[in-house]
């Protein structure tokens, strides 16, 4: 009989660990490169300076995007938003560590990864609006984007479903002997889902090249991590699947990037999948539908605000003379401007996609049901404009 706390007897990490773990549990070592103040051992740096600055710019952009979208939602200009405030280092550090041919299976907070994969900002914004510019024809809620040219798959709401899918995609490439590693995102809440279990188990048995990225942001809507699982860490769940597990400071972009590279390298070398736990924090509500004050004291958040990954990377860059105050101001301003312009352009598009788009794409070709029902819908709309009018509701 052995208890999980016995695990504490073994502590190892490939990359070394600077400072103690920022989160709960200490039986599994946490990998860090940057200290809280942004300083780092120069020997541990693996990201080229230019790329690092670009990732910093993207983190800033991601933050501004989230803030702007939340504002738009409050103004009633979009219906819903769910973002990554506080989790930017996790999202960008992992995505940037992958190769272009790799597939990314998002959860729903990885908009920065979609943009990194080349999704044009206006296309992204049109999905937020679900208007005539939306490549997905207004079929899904905001924040359910897909971007096939960047191998960024189609977001859906049911938790965990993307996990075995990511395994299947990597499996397909391996069968064809193509070098591809898939990466899949999910929250620590999703580790309770059935599909987390099946995905990791299938990958373990078949040594599928998949990097499983758990954004452990401490909360699943109102549920704190310790109500989600009794395991002290998420990384140790790898033991159940006979796969590698690693725990990393998710607010340390350098650590996240390095750990993801390692996991990717193992996968590509045929050594199997890795469960990568990125310890971070959801600084805001779950989404614009949520008010965390009902379940989370703001004191709980304060320590994490101090660990914000953006100022931390800024301090790192500044400390190394890679980012001046002027550059910082310029990239903040550029982000603001790009967003403003794109929002203006996209809001100018027709508010609704065409009626037939509701019936197309259910199948490769419409069946008779969709064809007949499209005619039915057309006739109804033509006969009575109130058909599509939200104000005309019973009750």
């Amino acid at each position: 009989m052995r208890r999980p706390s016995d695990l504490g007897a073994v502590r190892r990490s490939r990359g070394g660990s600077a400072g103690g773990p920022p989160g709960e549990g200490d039986s599994w070592p946490i990998f860090r490169v940057m200290a809280d103040d942004g300083s780092a051992d120069p020997a541990a740096l693996t990201v080229p300076d230019a790329e690092l600055k670009e990732l910093y710019r993207r983190m800033v952009f991601s933050r501004q995007l989230d803030e702007r979208m939340i504002a738009l939602q409050r103004q009633g200009r979009i219906g819903f938003y769910i973002g990554a405030i506080g989790e930017e280092a996790t999202v960008l550090g992992t995505a940037a560590a992958m190769e272009p041919a790799d597939w990314i299976f998002p959860c729903y907070r990885e908009h920065a990864a979609a943009l990194l994969r080349g999704m044009p900002l206006p296309v992204f914004l049109a999905q937020m609006l679900g208007n005539a510019g939306d490549l997905q024809f207004g079929r899904q809620m905001p924040c359910h984007e897909a971007w096939a040219p960047g191998r960024f798959t189609s977001i859906s709401a049911p938790i965990g479903t993307q996990i075995p899918q990511a395994v299947g995609a990597a499996w397909a490439s391996r069968i064809r002997k193509e070098p591809m590693v898939s990466l899949v995102y999910f929250g620590e809440g999703a580790t309770s889902s059935s599909d987390f279990h099946t995905g990791l188990n299938f990958a373990g048995v078949n040594k599928i090249p998949t990097v499983f990225v758990c954004r452990n942001n401490g909360w699943a809507i109102s549920l704190p991590r310790e109500k989600q699982t009794a395991s002290e860490t998420i990384a140790q769940k790898a033991v159940a699947y006979g796969i590698a597990g690693e725990r990393v400071d998710g607010n340390d972009l350098l650590a996240v990037h390095a750990a993801t590279r390692r996991a990717r390298a193992r996968a590509a070398a045929g050594e199997g999948p890795t469960l990568l736990e990125c310890v971070t924090y959801r600084l805001e509500g779950h989404s614009t539908s949520d008010d965390p004050k009902a379940y989370r004291p703001s004191e709980a958040v304060e320590p994490w605000r101090k660990k914000d990954p953006i100022p931390r990377l800024r301090a790192h860059l500044a400390g190394r003379g890679l980012l001046s105050d002027e550059e910082e101001a310029a990239l903040q301003a550029a982000a603001k401007e790009e967003l403003q312009k794109a929002i203006r352009d996209v809001e100018a598009l027709a508010a609704k996609p065409a009626l037939e788009s509701m019936f197309e794409g259910v199948y490769a070709d419409m069946l008779w049901q969709q064809r007949e029902q499209l005619e039915e819908a057309r006739a109804a709309v033509a006969a009575d404009p109130r058909v599509g009018d939200p104000r005309h509701h019973g009750s």
């Binding site: 207004g138 049911p158 549920l223 379940y295 509701m358 259910v362 599509g388």
Partner: protein, 324 residues
């Protein structure tokens, strides 16, 4: 009598029944300390503690599986599925286990429970916060399926469902969660399962609906009246067991029927109603039973009002059916 909306009515029913019967517990994602993402279980954690207002990990099959074990062992669980769209991970527990437990064990065991879940569109929820999955569960022998349309019924039906010896799926129409307000009797009362409500008497055509769509049907019937169409409106309230007598009685009188539901048309409950009506009222029928339904597509986001079978489309069907 206080004026409640449906959430308040549900909350009131849960609180009263938990006070009355110590075996009643609620469980699900965010239902405990937070009181539910729609606040339907608000205050229960404070009053009854974490043993009876239980926050669970994020796994619907775990919620239903655990509820089943609780029910076998004497509790009366009321699990919540946060949105009906997320019931599918629990499908196996519901269809293979909850629905069949009494039967397969020869009645040695039973697992009464009420699976509460908000369902339906009209809140800009897109494909995964809008669906109406009732067909799957009506088709599954062993389950009952209840859908209130009003606060008064929500409370009375929920109390009846919790006291019912069979497992019940209780679908709460979330579009009218707050919009539907009404006087609700204080204290305990039950609205019996399996009884439809004739909410408007008429003689020309029977209009059958439930949940949020009953409100649309009601509006359409009022508009139809202005055009001289005299519709009888039925709010089914319970889909399984269906109040087939009420349906047959009305259609025998009117000779015409229009059925409304949000779920996609093909194999929706409207098909069963049409089949039953033509089986039982064949010689009285003067027009085909018409179906005004969601379309055979996933639930869309931007065009949800075009998708939903709301009053203007119902009105059209009433006109066509009466003119047939």
């Amino acid at each position: 009598m206080p004026t409640f909306n449906i959430i308040q009515a549900v909350n009131d029913a849960l609180r009263l029944e938990m006070r009355r019967d110590p075996s009643v517990v609620v469980l699900g994602e965010d239902v405990g300390r937070f009181g539910g993402v729609f606040r339907a279980t608000s205050g229960l954690f404070e009053e009854f503690g974490p043993d009876r207002a239980i926050d669970t990990p994020l796994a619907e099959s775990g919620i239903i599986g655990a509820a089943l074990g609780m029910a076998l062992n004497g509790l009366r669980p009321v699990p919540e599925i946060q949105f009906a769209d997320f019931i599918f991970p629990a499908m196996d527990q519901i269809v293979s286990e909850v629905a069949k437990y009494r039967y397969r064990s020869g009645g040695q065991y039973a697992c009464p429970m009420v699976i509460r879940t908000p369902y339906g569109g009209g809140i800009r929820g897109g494909s995964y916060h809008s669906q109406s999955p009732e067909t799957h569960f009506i088709h599954t022998a062993g389950l009952k399926v209840v859908v209130p349309a009003t606060p008064e019924d929500a409370k009375g039906l929920l109390l009846a469902a919790i006291r019912d010896p069979d497992p019940v799926l209780f679908l709460e129409p979330k579009r009218v969660y707050r919009a539907a307000k009404g006087e609700v009797p204080e204290g305990e009362y039950t609205v019996p399962l399996g009884q439809a409500r004739v909410t408007r008497a008429g003689h020309q055509v029977t209009l059958i609906a439930w949940g949020a769509m009953w409100h649309e049907a009601d509006l359409a019937a009022r508009e139809a009246e202005a055009e001289g169409i005299d519709a009888e409106v039925l709010d089914l309230r319970t889909l399984q067991p269906l109040d087939v007598d009420a349906v047959v009685r009305s259609v025998t009188k009117t000779g015409r029927a229009v059925v409304v539901h949000e779920a996609p048309r093909t194999c929706g409950f409207g098909a069963e109603l049409a089949a039953l009506i033509q089986e039982r009222c064949f010689l009285q029928l003067e027009a085909p039973v018409a179906r005004v339904t969601g379309f055979d597509t996933p639930f869309p986001y931007t065009l949800e009002n075009e998708y939903l079978p709301r009053a203007p489309r119902i009105l059209r069907a009433l006109r066509q059916t009466v003119a047939y």
